[in-house]
Amino acid sequence: MIVFAAAQLLPGDVGRSVLGRDATQEAVAEYNREHGTDRAAVVQYLDWVGGAVHGDLGNSLIPPEPPVWEVLRPALVNSLKLALYAFLLVVPLGILGGIVAGLRVGRAADRGITVAGLSLAVVPEFVTGLVLILAFSIWLGWLPVTAQWDEGAGPLTQVKYLTLPAIALAIVLFGYIARITRAGVVEALDADYTRTAFLKGLPRSTVIRRHVLRNALIPTIAVVATQVGYLLGGLVAIEILFNYRGIGLTMVEAAQLKDFTLLTAGVLIIGLVYLLVTLVADILFVLLNPRIRFEAAE
């Protein structure tokens, strides 16, 4: 809805921008009438929503005007592949990094991981992507430069092509996940129940394994869900850089071409994916947290 509202603010009519400056006035009017873009904004939106609920997300406004879903589906699949790869890379590494940092608070390993993680997190993905490309593709030649593989390439080839972009994405998220995990570990280490465990005579490894980690990772799980949001955002720049036809690239092009149907639909889909992931994370959080699962004593 927000997208649509924003879209309607923009000056100039849709028809003209699609057909270009040189099109005749009649052609523009014709286009607008055909697509209903000469109707009032509210009517257009309601119309679209009605369609969306039935599963029809409308058609792209750019000739040849394929149905939006046909454009979005492959893009979405591509992006999900990349996102999954990055996710699988960063989550274990980030959590591990956070645990190590948390267990060695204040010492070299901690400062190193924390500072490195945070610094790298703020560097834009395309910058790290570029450096990676330079290093690994151009100078070392280990991995391909762009993420375009030939039709029908097998999964292993796809992985090879996706490695650099996934690493670039992962680097950005690593710092944040490590920091949250570290905070969780530090808090758990300081807790009274950890003291009880040590004072029972349990060896350090057992205390950490059984008592600390269990509680330390709970806040991390909650946060990982929000990270998916950043992941989806980072996709845009990476896809452009590596010329990978994912949903980010598609959306940016749509914005450039002012294809609002596509844009609205895309935003909706992304929002849905995000909500889904958040829901899963919430469920996980509740499952892992006995305090919420079972009612407290009266």
Binding site: D192, Y193, L199, K200, G201, H211, P290, E295, A297
Partner: protein, 677 residues
């Protein structure tokens, strides 16, 4: 039975010195502390905050924080040198020889692991195989009198009440039959009746197992009940040590003397026999001044005390004191000499505050929580009404309803005969200034970013309508009245101690010359000596201004000291209401009786313990009939289960809610009740 039937003392501390590294400097928390605990003995370590008692406990188990360390001295438990233990031996030491139980049992248990598994861990670490460990865990829980250990074992800690949690922790601690059991404020934060049960349990188990106990507490009453010997710690130094009765009856160090005079005891009331205070402040951490550590606050101190530190010398057999003038210790001049001149309360006119039919029901997740039910009470000008009750009693709800923070479901509060709007937002400025509050926690009661002057000036502006020079003048007066220096006005709360912060809070409440001040546990977060000063201040202000107090506290001694009348609440209902002496001396409500018997006092002896079975029922489903019947040791029969007794005046000015007639109660309570087996 104890593993090692050795004659070695359970604990020996010898010239122990512990420091913390703060901002690059080593600051001493404990200096030259030495004491011994014989096998089977229970030793109490007493002191106020900052004296180092918890540090001693942590040093014994070698769990000091990373910036702490043992400077010199030795610690040995059952003959073993603790400080020399290697990694492996240390673990074994913790698993077998020493156990620690500390405050806040809820956080001592891991919230994500079931209780049974945690208790069993105490056994598996000793090498006991899994299945057997579970069995022994169950047995351990039975031993701490948990009925139905099976269901408790399968629960998570947050599903148990505070008392149950502490029992489970004790079960874990005693599972291995340690040579030494350390208890660090184990019952602080628990309700009085629950506390009594836990303490009874500890005594019992100690007797059964002949465990040696190190009991750390700030509460002399508890120590006198639980321990045979006591050591008084001040600023990291042991200043007096000896058998409990001797030290309490015949103290030989000015600090001990001062401390005992601060505690409200039977017979001492606000208008006769004031609480004494200890002037000055605790020396800051690591301040190693020459001479006696207490000299700066001791009225007996002279030049010698300021330059030469006295050694711990014997004053009698088994009784030692670190003072040059220990024979004169009890002649310590009092700080507060004169009694306050408090005019008696005039109850002939209209009451200042009237609560009628006050009821509050909360809706929580589908349940209805009956926080207050049909409360009727009155407070006259210049009077202190003490509110007593355990958790769930509704005392906080009552105060908040009076202040308009909560809206009553039924009923109304009136000020000077006029009904008060139920929400404070609807009250006039005059009504707001008449009713003020002093909170429990001085840290959160003051805005950390405002200076004291700003806090006072703002209150003066809103409550007294003063501005400019007049306000500045009054601010100085207020500060002076609560005994703050002008310098304090420029400081911010973080720079002040707890006692000073509370004074500021009191000054703020009095800015508009209130008629009634709600005191919600105003001294619970403060040390005993500071508490005495604050209580004295409140009494002084009452004498000067004829202000009334609604005084809430869980500390019965304090309530008795300061209250004219007392209301006893249980599950949102007033069970008894009457003059302080009458309520305390009896005959009184069976709940009051049990409550009083649960509180350990320094005067020791006296009451027989009346044990209340079970936990306090939930306010969401109060029992039928008389709400106390499920735990009442004097229940007379079906009538208690079916009909709620009304609150009636059983003798002039004394109301009670019980089916048993007053004379019958008088007869019953005159004879000592059989101690419950």
């Amino acid at each position: 039975m104890s593993l090692a039937v050795s004659t070695a003392p359970a604990l020996v501390l010898n010239e122990l010195e512990v420091f913390y590294r703060v901002r690059g400097r080593d600051r001493h928390v404990l200096r030259g502390v030495s004491f011994e605990i014989a096998p089977g003995e229970s030793y109490g370590l007493v002191g106020e905050s900052g004296c180092g008692k918890s540090t001693a406990a942590l040093a014994i188990v070698r769990y000091l924080p990373r910036n702490g360390g043992v400077g010199s001295g030795s610690i040995s438990v059952a003959g073993r040198d603790v400080l020399a233990l290697g990694e492996r031996d240390l673990r074994e030491f913790r698993a077998r020889s020493v156990s620690m139980v500390y405050q806040n049992p809820g956080s001592a248990l891991n919230p994500s692991i079931r209780v049974g598994a945690q208790v069993a861990e105490a056994f598996t670490v000793l090498g006991v195989p899994g299945g057997e460990a579970t069995e022994r865990a169950r047995a351990a829980l039975e031993r701490v009198q948990i009925a139905d250990p099976g269901s408790v074992m399968s629960r998570y800690p947050h599903q148990l009440s505070g008392g149950m949690q502490q029992r489970a922790v004790i079960a874990m601690a005693l599972a291995k039959d340690p040579a030494l059991l350390i208890l660090d404020e184990p019952t602080t934060g628990l309700d009085a009746t629950v506390e009594a049960e836990v303490l009874d349990l500890v005594s019992q188990l100690q007797a059964e197992l002949s465990t040696s106990v190190l009991f750390i507490s700030h509460n002399l009453g508890v120590i006198s009940k639980m321990c045979s010997r006591v050591g008084i710690l001040y600023a990291g130094r042991l200043v007096e040590e000896g058998p409990v009765e001797t030290v309490l009856q015949d103290p030989r160090h000015p600090y001990t003397v001062g401390l005992l005079r601060c505690i409200p005891r039977g017979g001492v009331r606000k208008d006769h026999g004031r609480l004494d205070t200890i002037p000055g402040f605790l020396p800051s951490l690591g301040e190693d001044a020459p001479g006696c550590v207490f000299a700066s606050r001791c009225a007996l101190a002279d030049e010698r005390c300021g330059s030469e530190e006295p050694p711990l010398a014997a004053v009698a057999s088994g009784h030692e004191s670190r003072c040059w003038y220990h024979e004169r210790a009890q002649e310590l001049p009092r700080e507060e000499v004169a009694d306050i001149d408090l005019a008696p309360v005039d109850r002939t006119g209209e009451p200042l505050i009237e609560l009628s039919k006050l009821t509050k029901i909360f809706k929580q997740r589908g349940h209805e929580v009956h926080a207050l039910t049909d409360v009727n009470a009155a407070i006259w000008p210049g009077e202190t009404l003490g509110l007593v009750g355990e958790s769930g009693s509704g005392k906080t709800t009552l105060a908040r309803t009076l202040l308009g923070i909560l809206e009553p479901t039924v009923g109304i509060a009136s000020l000077d005969g006029d009904p008060l709007p139920t929400r404070y937002q609807k009250r006039s400025q005059a009504e707001l200034r008449a009713l003020q509050i002093v909170f429990q926690n001085p840290d959160s009661a003051l805005n950390r970013r405002h200076s004291v002057r700003r806090i006072l000036l703002r209150s003066l502006k809103k409550l007294a309508g003063l501005g400019g020079r007049a306000a500045d003048q009054r601010a100085l007066e207020l500060a002076d009245r609560v005994r703050l220096t002008e310098r304090t006005l420029t400081q911010k709360p973080v720079q002040l101690s707890g006692g000073l912060k509370q004074r500021v809070a009191i000054a703020r409440a009095f800015a508009g010359d209130p008629k009634l001040v709600v005191c919600d546990e105003p001294t619970s977060a403060l040390d005993v000596s500071v508490q005495a000063a604050i209580l004295n201040l409140l009494v002084e202000l009452q004498a000067e201004q004829r202000v009334s107090y609604l005084f809430i506290s869980h500390d019965l001694g304090v309530v008795r000291y300061i209250s004219d009348r007392i209301a006893v609440l249980y599950l949102g209902r007033i069970q008894e209401l009457g003059p302080a002496d009458v309520v305390f001396d009896g005959p009184h409500h069976p709940y009051t009786e049990a409550l009083l018997s649960a509180v350990p006092t320094v005067d020791g002896g006296g009451r027989e313990r009346i044990r209340l079975e079970g936990d306090i029922p939930s306010a969401a489903s109060p029992p039928s009939g008389c709400v106390f019947h499920t735990r009442c040791p004097r229940k007379i029969g079906a009538i208690c289960e079916e009909t709620e007794p009304p609150l009636v005046e059983v003798e002039p000015a004394h109301d009670m809610r019980c089916h048993i007639p007053l004379d019958e109660l008088r007869r019953l309570q005159a004879t000592v009740l059989e101690p419950v087996a």
